[in-house]
């Protein structure tokens, strides 16, 4: 039985359908990257796993099972228990997700309960400096703050860690460090990871499996190397082709043509159809059912036909999670908070 199982989940906001029948399975110990176009519903999916959606969101259909428990139908106390025991979250804004009025040590202690070894947990994320313990979040750099957030999320050794673009706000070196920390800790604890990101190379490198979202559905999922190296869905292929890092200088990259859909109700057919070079009539009004292509599950009417015609330039050598060099401890830069920008209007 998989640890996380999202089945035909439909989430509506006031005037948008964010998830339109998303399905996803995450097994114990597995790391799954979720990629997709901006607005495709990644964050909504991530929040739905812990039932952390904003009030405006409504679950219209489907369910989310974590360790077999239906998240959306649990009474409050059971839900809390589930979150405590099975789930951990790391969000994009590192400093914002820490309580600004509490010392880092106290926040961690709150999670660990009495008798928890705070130093040990900070040490695990390579924050050995005792000053960190007594520091307030605003006195930490972004990278340090994100590591604290990770330490808190991992403190209870959750079964599943949901990380929503946890490194987007960080610069490239720090980004690597933080990712390393997460994956190492998860590997040690046997934690599964749901990694929401748009950093395709990183996902390819670090995740076991990838789920590609489009228009509120998971249109393709499978082993990371397979999905990104040999996409089976036309969208995945287009996405993988457009990574700027992949381009040689002076070459013009082509984005996926057209605009992503903004759904207000169920999409009548394949949401990608209007932008798809291979679309045919039925794509516009018949919702595709999952098909298996190689090791991938694909939502495409023409997946079988297209099996070998889609290519991707990324040839990710699935590398071992890089051994972490003891990251140099930044002398906690107690940065003076910036003053009001001097504006001369």
């Amino acid at each position: 039985m998989s640890l996380l199982s999202v089945r035909n989940l439909v989430i509506d906001y006031a005037r948008t359908r964010a998830l339109d029948g998303a399905g996803l399975e995450v097994a114990q110990g597995e790391s799954v990257g979720v990629v997709g176009e901006s607005g495709s519903g990644k964050s909504t999916l991530g929040s739905a796993v812990g039932r952390l959606l904003p009030r405006a969101a409504r679950r219209t259909e489907g369910e989310v099972l974590v360790a077999g428990e239906p998240v959306f139908d649990l009474p409050a106390a059971r839900l809390r228990h589930l979150r405590r025991k099975h789930l951990g979250f790391v969000f994009q804004d590192p400093i914002g997700s820490l309580d600004p009025t509490m010392r880092v040590g106290d926040q961690l202690r709150l999670v660990l309960g009495r008798g928890g070894d705070v130093r040990f947990h900070l040490g695990r994320v390579r924050l050995d400096d005792p000053r960190v313990l007594r520091a307030y979040p605003h006195q930490l750099s972004g990278g340090m703050a994100q590591r604290v957030a990770i330490a808190m999320a991992m403190a209870t050794s959750p079964d599943l860690l949901v990380a929503d673009e946890p490194t987007a706000a960080l610069d490239s070196q720090v980004r690597e460090e933080v990712s390393d920390v997460i994956f190492t800790l998860a590997a040690e604890a046997g934690t599964s990871i749901l990694w929401l990101s748009h950093d395709l190379p990183a996902v390819a490198r670090r995740c076991d499996r990838v789920a590609v979202m489009y228009g509120g559905r998971v249109v393709e999922s499978g082993p990371a190397a397979q999905v990104l190296g040999h996409p089976a869905h036309p969208y995945t292929a287009a996405l993988a082709r457009s990574a700027p890092a992949a381009a040689a200088h002076g070459v013009r990259l082509e984005p996926v043509p057209g605009r992503p859909p903004v759904l207000t109700g169920p999409s009548p057919g394949c949401a990608f159809a209007p932008r798809c070079a291979f679309a045919e009539d039925r794509c516009a009004h018949e919702r595709p059912a999952p098909v298996r292509v190689r090791e991938q599950d694909v939502l495409c009417h023409k997946a079988i036909e297209l099996e070998d015609r889609l290519t991707a330039p990324i040839e990710p050598a699935p590398i071992e999670p890089a051994p972490i060099e003891p990251a140099p401890i930044e002398p906690a830069p107690i940065e003076p908070a910036p003053n009001t920008t001097e504006v001369t209007a």
Partner: protein, 272 residues
């Protein structure tokens, strides 16, 4: 932006009824509020549907007039407060520097006067009456509001959307009106309705001490103050204006909270 919630709509409806009620007194519905129509302290009955007061006047038209007086007085006062606080608070908060210091010191000085003492001083200096009551309410409510608006404006001034507007070449008035004001509007709404309750309370307090509107004009404060004396002997004297006053302030507060929620586009999170 969300619609007002049901409670707030109820509050609005209640206010509308009260305003209609007050307008009724303008067209003479209910009778002459000053005329002595019957024996003193009569319980409700024909000719005086809410009873008569200690001068034998019918209470109903007096309550109608009182609602009008009080609502008009306190809303004008709060409007003045809101405009002044918004202007000074926003400017001081956005501009900072000496202007900020000056405004904050002035506010602190005003703040340092006990409210009712301030009101009495104003009434004594200006001579009692509506102007004094108005000025008192303004002076009593302005410090807190200016302070909070300023604090909110300081926070907004640092936001990137303000910087963006400045980069676009937007002039100061535009920045203040389009960006700072809407983002401190929630504060102004909450504080405004709070000030409205304070205003009504100050008016009542002034009447209690004899500095309020001038007789024979009725205001809720005056009516309630008089009614309080007859609470046991003639409860109808306080019941009418009391119910109306409680309804008014309650409605205002409820609407204020609703407005605040409405002006805050982000949704609060439930804790479960």
């Amino acid at each position: 932006m969300r619609r007002l919630d049901r409670l707030s709509i109820g509050g609005l409806a209640c206010l509308a009824v009260l305003v209609l009620f007050a307008l009724g007194s303008l067209v003479g519905a209910g009778g002459d509020p000053d005329a002595i129509v019957g024996p003193r302290l009569q319980p409700p009955g024909p000719g005086w549907w809410l009873g008569t007061d200690n001068l034998g006047r019918s209470v109903l038209p007096r309550v109608m007039e009182g609602v009008g007086t009080t609502l008009l007085l306190s809303s004008i006062a709060v409007l003045v407060t809101a405009v002044l606080s918004a202007a000074f608070g926003i400017l001081a908060g956005y501009r900072g520097g000496y202007l900020n210091e000056l405004v904050m010191r002035l506010v602190e000085v005003l703040y340092s006067f006990p409210a009712i003492v301030l009101a009495i001083l104003v009434a004594a200096v200006l001579g009692p009456g509506q102007t004094a009551a108005l000025a008192s309410i303004v002076l009593v409510t302005i410090p807190l509001m200016t302070r909070l608006v300023r604090a909110a404006a300081v926070a907004v001034a640092q936001r990137d959307y303000v910087t963006s507007a400045v980069i676009s070449g937007a002039r100061l008035p535009r920045v203040l009106v389009r960006h700072v004001l809407p983002n401190v509007a929630g504060t102004i709404a909450v504080q405004g309705t709070y000030a409205l309750s304070v205003g009504i309370a100050v008016e009542g307090g002034l009447s209690f001490l004899g500095f309020g509107v001038q007789p024979p004009q009725a205001s809720l404060g005056v009516l309630i103050q008089q009614g309080g004396t007859y609470m046991i002997a003639a409860p109808w004297l306080i019941l009418g204006p009391g119910v109306v006053l409680v309804a008014a302030i309650l409605a205002i507060n409820v609407v204020g909270d609703g407005l605040r929620d409405r002006l805050e586009p982000r949704e609060t999170r439930s804790l479960t």
